[in-house]
Symmetry: C2
Subunit: 163 residues, 2 copies
Amino acid sequence: MASRTDLGGAECPIARSLDDVGEWWSMLILRDAFDGYTRFDEFQRNLGIAPNMLTRRLRKLVDGGLLERRRYQARPPRHEYVLTTRGREFLPVLITLAGFGDRHVPADSRSIQLINRTSGEPVDAVLVDRRTGLPLDELDVGFAAGPGASAGMREHYALSSKD
Amino acid sequence: MASRTDLGGAECPIARSLDDVGEWWSMLILRDAFDGYTRFDEFQRNLGIAPNMLTRRLRKLVDGGLLERRRYQARPPRHEYVLTTRGREFLPVLITLAGFGDRHVPADSRSIQLINRTSGEPVDAVLVDRRTGLPLDELDVGFAAGPGASAGMREHYALSSKD
């Protein structure tokens, strides 16, 4: 944990995303939140996690702006955790993680599926280039230094030997 | 760590994906691998990580089938770590993580950008429904029990209150 800031590098958006979420299994809390769960005891039951760990992870997700803590009962005080707009922006990550996990599982054997909630139809999510519509797995794509890159980031990409 | 199997649930493809990768920061090793780095000392320098931690994470990524360990020098023995075909399938996760991190950063301020390596042009990655071509953020999408769901997984989705 101590080396996080070293590893993170606030400049890298992947590292920043990981830092916002906080911990590895926090992604499963987000999954549950997308699945419609909001309450501490629900997350605890679904995830089989110790209360103190769950408390810490929920707090981190609240601090990271992905969940909002709302009181839904005054006596005794009870809170629920709901996705913020920022939290909802995390869904593509969960979709691609699920796609990676199920990549070699036949569609009719999958335990979960992405659906269009309006129509109930399954949705086959694919990453494409917005401009051309071409699926990214048909292109040779990779990361490169962007317009706002520091000297260190430019060096990172200049030094690597991709070819 | 002890509660991983509880949390994981081999049935959930998101949990399986997290388990294949192993640890939180291992995603940054994969990022570096996509950026063209292959050698232990390169990962160590880029990530500022203790050698024993890096060794453990690389081993987990090899065990998970995402990296292949190859000897590139006999005396003294030196190994490099290269993405497997399975490892390359992880790129969409890194792309969506980067997209989440940079969502509110103007394009001209970004430190990294996705490019088409053939043309050198920037690529704007977007998740769409393969069948209709509609961007997922214009649809109300969510996860639901799939055809291969267990009774427990069906209950998970039946019990949640999405509306």
